[in-house]
Symmetry: none
């Protein structure tokens, strides 16, 4: 079962507001086993509305329209739908008492006559009642598809979606189910992932594989549409366990888990406390950790030692070491992690120093060069990385790499 | 000048992520005097991509496509565009050295062969270089329209939009002019702003006023469309100066300036150095400051004293004070700011402590309670605030308030 979603209204296209409805609609449809194959957003223009609906009812099973149901002349979804389907419009007298009652209950106001426009539904449509506002929605069937039109106001849209549209679809269309697994990776690129998984994907019958690159890493999504939930689960289980075996420790988590959450959980399991000393990431590693509720259970805090003076005064890094090796060096990263561990009394400490740019780079130490050190009971280790991109990207990537290195140390990787 | 925007990719349709790109694109086009008349979002399906582009190039002047430029078989924007325009695709050998260099700079990795797919541009296309990733964008002209294709990764999209697409359109299509002024405020709500400005707005002929609330504060946007740049500028100058007079120190900056940038500039003018001690904001104040290039000129660093132990060991806060008043108290915030100032040798220091939630609140000290202290040469001052919202909102609001309090102290406000 495929669906198209159509958003009607000039506000979103004008860049004045963010379309928060669509994300919610897409997620609700996905969870109901309905695949949204396209979303269109058009202005209050009857030709654009009619043209889009006309194409959609030929292509998919469900057309879900939001917005354009108000009482003013620029609310054109009723007219656009009627025109798309080649039917007329009739003022639905049977709905007038309900609309008048809505106005009475809403502070005793008398209904403006213009509100009657909201009842001029396309012929053949069933009204969908609106307990949260004045505009009724409607449902109308075509030879292939069913069209739903609901208001654009998020609260009114949401109620109709969950209380009228999805229940009707479950009863009359019994959509297929979908199951999804998301594996989150760090330290490996999208094309590397695809090349490693490709030889195995043919054997994962019915399981779709997609890659979603973000700055913290690449997510691998395994999905399965179908009618037999047990078989889908079995086939997804097999695909997921093979993917995990192939990708090994590149996979840090699943679903919406963040690297910070994973690291904090691993620290909690060991009963270890963490402190971080940051230079080029400037507080981002600490901010990522403290974004997690309950992080205080395993995270003590840290130092943002942005200047050399801060490295010496707050972490006890020897000024001579900084003069000899430079503040961006393996020696400095190690001294920061060790100084942090000693001063805080934490079990494990991170030290991150690098050149975020845009200034400060040299031929030998270019922008993007970052050293990450982990000081743990077994000793201190350090890694050198060169991150591409502008300042913000370098800082974000360095933050993810720091948390990931800590994760690998906690996993006992050599 | 009308534009269509096409978003390619299954992620958004699947309800997995919110489409944050479109809002930004629509706003940027609007500000450039280009009207977006439709937005479509389609899955990784070559027929859907080609069909949408084919229709759009007949209807509008500009077609802006994001996503589907990666190296994997489900990246189909190049093929879809070629099919829509009836042209072939050629592997662009001339772009190979650049792509290889991108991979070399990214930790010396060898380029996987599959990445060459990213260079199979439609015939007749001009490549748009990508300093933030491996996929080039492209621009291709049709008899009526110009099609731009850029990656879906927000950072890569944003760079190409502002550095390549809009400059090209300004040079070759000269859209109607718009002039915009953005005044950024902190510490005052949207409806308060509207009420203060309303009595004056009628006199600002042709100047549109809009309010954009964000977590750091509310932006007041003054805009003027037209053909006479001098008159527009004169009328905008008048409106802006009146608005600034009415709003006083609620206005912290203009354009895209951040609070952190403003504070760093003010510190630089005084020759002062800053250090920050954060508890509930967990590194966000430091991260906001170090996001600004060149912040090291005025920012020394700081301490994230998340645990009580960290407050004592890294800042020298008396454990007895914490036992008596609690870690979330005016006394603790003052001691953090003063301890930070003393230990770092900075001229001015911030101390922030509070309850970000969701746990840890009590009747007397609820979630959202935050104390902000500024220790400066003239003494230490402290403010209590109660922020609404969930953990992330509390942390963001507390970060903005801390930077804003520091700004007001630097301004000499009583």
């Amino acid at each position: 079962m495929d669906a198209h979603v159509l958003t009607v209204g000039g506000e979103i296209l004008a860049g004045d507001i963010l379309d928060s409805n669509f994300h919610e609609i897409a997620a609700a449809f996905r969870d109901a086993g309905i695949r949204v194959t396209a979303h269109a957003s058009v202005a209050d223009d009857v030709d654009a509305i009619a043209g889009t609906i006309r194409r959609s009812v030929e292509e998919v099973d469900i057309v879900f329209v939001t917005g354009g149901l108000g009482p003013t002349p620029d609310d054109l979804t009723r007219e656009g739908t009627a025109r798309a389907l080649g039917v007329g419009q009739t003022l639905r007298e049977d709905l007038v008492p309900d609309l008048e009652a809505t106005f009475r209950s809403h502070g005793g106001r008398t209904m403006p006559v213009s509100n009657l426009n909201q009842l001029r539904l396309p012929d053949g449509a069933e009204a969908i009642s609106n307990p949260n506002g004045s505009a009724p929605g409607f449902r109308i069937e075509t030879p292939r598809a069913v069209v739903f039109a609901v208001p654009g106001v998020p609260r009114e849209m949401r109620w109709m979606l969950h209380e009228a549209v999805l229940p009707w679809l479950r009863e009359h269309r019994s959509p297929t189910a979908i199951q999804v697994r998301l594996l989150r990776t760090q330290g490996i690129g999208e094309s590397d992932l695809a090349e490693r998984l490709a030889p195995h994907m043919d054997a994962w019958r019915g399981v779709g594989v997609a890659f979603y690159p973000h700055l913290p890493g690449v997510d691998v999504k395994l999905s399965h549409f179908g009618k037999d939930p047990r078989r889908m689960k079995r086939e997804l289980d097999q695909a997921e366990s093979e993917a995990r075996r192939i990708l090994g420790t590149y996979v840090y988590g699943s679903g919406k888990e963040t690297l910070a959450e994973v690291v904090l959980r691993m620290l909690g399991e060991r009963g270890w406390r963490l402190a971080v000393a940051e230079s080029c990431t400037g507080g981002r590693v600490a901010a990522a950790l403290t974004a997690v509720p309950g992080s205080s259970k395993a995270f003590d805090g840290g130092v943002v030692s942005y200047s050399n003076r801060a490295k010496s005064e707050l972490l006890g890094v020897d000024p001579e070491l900084l003069a000899t090796h430079g503040a961006v060096s393996e020696a400095a990263a190690r001294a920061m992690a060790e100084g942090m561990r000693e001063r805080s009394g934490a079990d494990v400490a991170l030290g991150v120093t690098g050149i975020a740019g845009p200034g400060g780079g040299t031929a030998g130490k270019p922008v993007g060069l970052v050293y990450t050190a982990v000081a743990a009971p077994g000793g201190t280790r350090c890694w050198e990385m060169r991150h591409p991109g502008v300042r913000d990207a370098v800082q974000q990537r360095a933050t993810s790499v720091a948390l990931n290195r800590l994760r690998l140390v906690l996993l006992g990787e050599p």
